[in-house]
């Protein structure tokens, strides 16, 4: 009964440090290409432990804002100035990404993935997609919902597209899609039979190496989601 009360969200000290460093960069005190102050100085300046500074720098490194060179220093990447423009704040409150943006972008990627898969798929890809699809159907008919397995099938399509970047991007947004769908309860039980047919149709088009047909099939499949996101 208590889990729906507003959760007291204590601001993570590491995120605060990230913000501080972000300010250092965006205010122009440190320009791209220049070195960040050493971890010890930063720790002293912010009045925190060095490990927390290290953790913050680690995150910044993962996002590509800075590059650490062992035994030398941490430099602000040239692209940092690009990412700083808004990426970090996005990461800190990633839940604010609106649902429509997510769906629209997903559709953009999915259609292209289906098109490329129809062109580039190997026989091995076909087998893998089939396995994923059968697995999805099995779970769906038993439990009534199988969002994860659904998305897994879609990921196999992006794999078959042979475009590694497209696939990576699909993987990046997949968790968010899953989260949103679960939260908003998009899945609808009485559409199960329909979605299975749609999936089979997509796979068929890819199998036949029909790019336009694949796009069309994917468009049809995602139509419900589009409508849901538009309301």
């Amino acid at each position: 009964m208590l889990e729906n009360l507003s959760r007291i969200e204590v601001e993570n000290p590491v995120d605060l440090i990230i913000s501080q460093i972000r300010d250092l960069i965006s205010s122009g005190k440190i320009k791209p290409g220049e070195k960040l102050p050493p971890e010890r100085k930063l720790a002293e300046h912010f009045g925190v432990s060095r490990n927390q500074v290290r953790e913050a720098i680690n995150k910044l490194q993962i996002y590509g804002i800075v590059k650490v060179q062992p035994q030398s220093g941490t430099t602000v990447t040239g692209i940092g100035i690009v990412a700083i423009e808004g990426l970090i704040t996005d990461i800190l409150r990633i839940e604010k990404t609106d649902f429509k943006s997510l769906v629209d972008t997903r559709i953009l990627l999915e259609k292209e993935a289906a098109r490329l898969a129809a062109i580039n798929r190997s026989n091995d890809d076909l087998i893998k997609m089939n396995i994923a699809l059968n697995h999805y159907e099995g779970i769906l008919l038993n439990d009534g919902f199988a969002i994860e397995e659904d998305l897994l099938f879609h990921l196999k399509i992006s794999e078959a597209s042979k475009n590694t970047v497209l696939r990576s991007l699909m993987m990046i947004i997949t968790p968010d899609i899953l989260k949103s769908f679960t939260n908003l309860k998009v899945c609808n039980e009485n559409t199960n039979k329909k979605t299975i047919d749609e999936h089979r149709h997509i796979l068929e088009m890819i199998s036949e190496k029909n790019p336009d047909g694949a796009i069309e099939a994917m468009e049809l499949h995602l139509k419900d989601v589009i409508e849901f996101s538009n309301k």
Copy 2:
């Protein structure tokens, strides 16, 4: 003279630990929702320090594979099973992204961004894009190259599209684009005047709220890059 010799790339121990944990999950020894063994046990089992395990878990957390609960334990999230399928291996060899995939995907995103920007751009967006464009031209005419500023202009377009996810994805691939361009020396000085005109044309189309025109202009602008990636 030595800096171009093949650098001996020692596999990062933290990445190795990530692989190990990935295996623990994907092999089914730990299922979504279940707890990961405590950090101390993992450290002992892998024969490494606890800090390294913590760092690995940190990364997994950033990518949403696991969720750490202080003083309680680290649980594998539901989405893990999807992400585990390949996301981690992507993290480990992110540099293997091939150039063609990168360019193709970029074009897909850029065209959609231009289209949406032509529909959704505010007057404020126009001002920002203009500033970015002028800044780009200034640097270009002085130094002869301004890839970063170029990409900054493109990012402003994705901002004007008002699709936050699309913008985030653009930001994610931007560093890789920059890296590839620098490595392959795609930029060509005698095309400077041309690219400036192309940029102005794109901005014009967005300003006029002409989606199709914006797509076309962007296509034209990226034509050189497409040709370069196809050879």
